[in-house]
Amino acid sequence: MRRHGASTTELITAAQGGDRRSLARLITLVENGGPTAERILQTLFPSTGRAHIVGVTGAPGTGKSTLVNAMAREYRNRGLTVGIIAIDPTSPFSGGALLGDRVRMRDLVGDEGVFIRSMATRGSLGGLARATDDVIQVLDAMGFDRILVETVGVGQAEVDIASSAHTVIVVEAPGLGDDIQAIKAGILEIADIFVVNKADREGAERTVMALQAMLGLGPRTVVHHGQTMRVEEPGGNTQGWTPPIIKTVATRGEGVPELVQAVEAHRAYLMETGELRQREEARVTHGLEQILREALVQRLVHRISPQALDQTVQRVLAREVDPYTAVEELLHLEEQGEPQAAR
């Protein structure tokens, strides 16, 4: 749908010179994927690796956007620049999306040191968009000091954000049903910092206590959706770091300086202990595997002729062959036929 007059090189130069329109266009190109996105990411790669990436996850309505807004303001007070990526789900029915996180981020408009981008998941299920890591790279390369990523409030967001962010903030709020049940199993492992937001509301203290109880004891069982599940590693994913629990009133900015202080303390901890390097290694591994997988799939699918695929479909339909054997045969066919023709 786009009429990109400028070349990607021109866009990169302009964006690095502070042109926000060019930066926004670069993000669109990267989000849309394909060879253009690859070219941009290749060019930007040497400039990446500076930003500290903070994931903000938690159930819908806990106040993630409001908190991101308040955190960005606090970072600006400290003289740091902030890139924000706010993710909302794509409708599986229409392919469209309603991206509403900006409604809570209005204080930041007009500040050159902040750039906010809403992203739709576009079919990805993990609470992040497929291109989230790529857009993080773009903001990183543009020199934003901190990048705040607000995940979708449902599903398995926590798993994905853990491999994308340096520091993961899990946001809870009182009044989301039974306190213990509201704290999802699996979230303890990935939280570096817990926030109990809406501390102005009744029940906040109980939520704090529920969290403390879950964090303070050894391995134990947690009831989740009526299922008894074992939580392997309470007390967070790292030995030397105990995730703090911070109470906030995001709408009034209360507790937010403390929260930002905790993020910075975690960052310092990661650097001092060498854990930052480990996390980066995990991130690079994850990223490489993903690119490799996509490249391999592209290459193979490309080489299997539509006719061969159609014949196979017909044979499976006729119950002449099972799908597993059929795939083996297709891959075999691909190996034998014209191995160098595709290159």
């Binding site: 749908m1 786009r2 009429r3 042109d19 926000r20 329109r21 926004a24 266009r25 993000i27 669109t28 849309n32 994927g33 394909g34 794509t90 409708s91 029915f93 229409s94 392919g95 469209g96 999306a97 309603l98 991206l99 509403g100 900006r102 409604v103 209005r106 408009v109 007009g110 750039f115 906010i116 981008r117 809403s118 739709a120 576009r122």
Partner: protein
Amino acid sequence: MNTREKVRVLVAKPGLDGHDRGAKVVARALRDAGFEVIYTGIRQTPEAIAEAAVQEDVDVVGLSILSGAHMALVPKVIRLLREKGMEDVLILVGGIIPDEDIPKLRALGVHGVFGPGTLTQDIVDFIWQALEERQTSATATE
């Protein structure tokens, strides 16, 4: 055209009136038509709207104005969009707009004006058609 590209639409409510039911209905309808809709809420300044349009790299800006202040607000938004390099964005205005103001808004650079009775499908069709025409003329002049 890359099939993964999505049309992005900013739905914004400038001005001081506090009702955004209509804007939300339109936002949802556009989502259901397959657009990525960025919704920014009520009482937006023209500056905030233009800046959001830039950051979100939208193809379409839809302004919902019920306060009667459209002749003051729309020119401001359009000027700021142009200043920020968004010359080619499609601009739609919805709300209570007297007939005699429609040609004036068009002259300012508004592409479509939609009154209270408009079917959301008409807005969807309008956007598709306008973007398609644009696509064709862009390839013709290249």
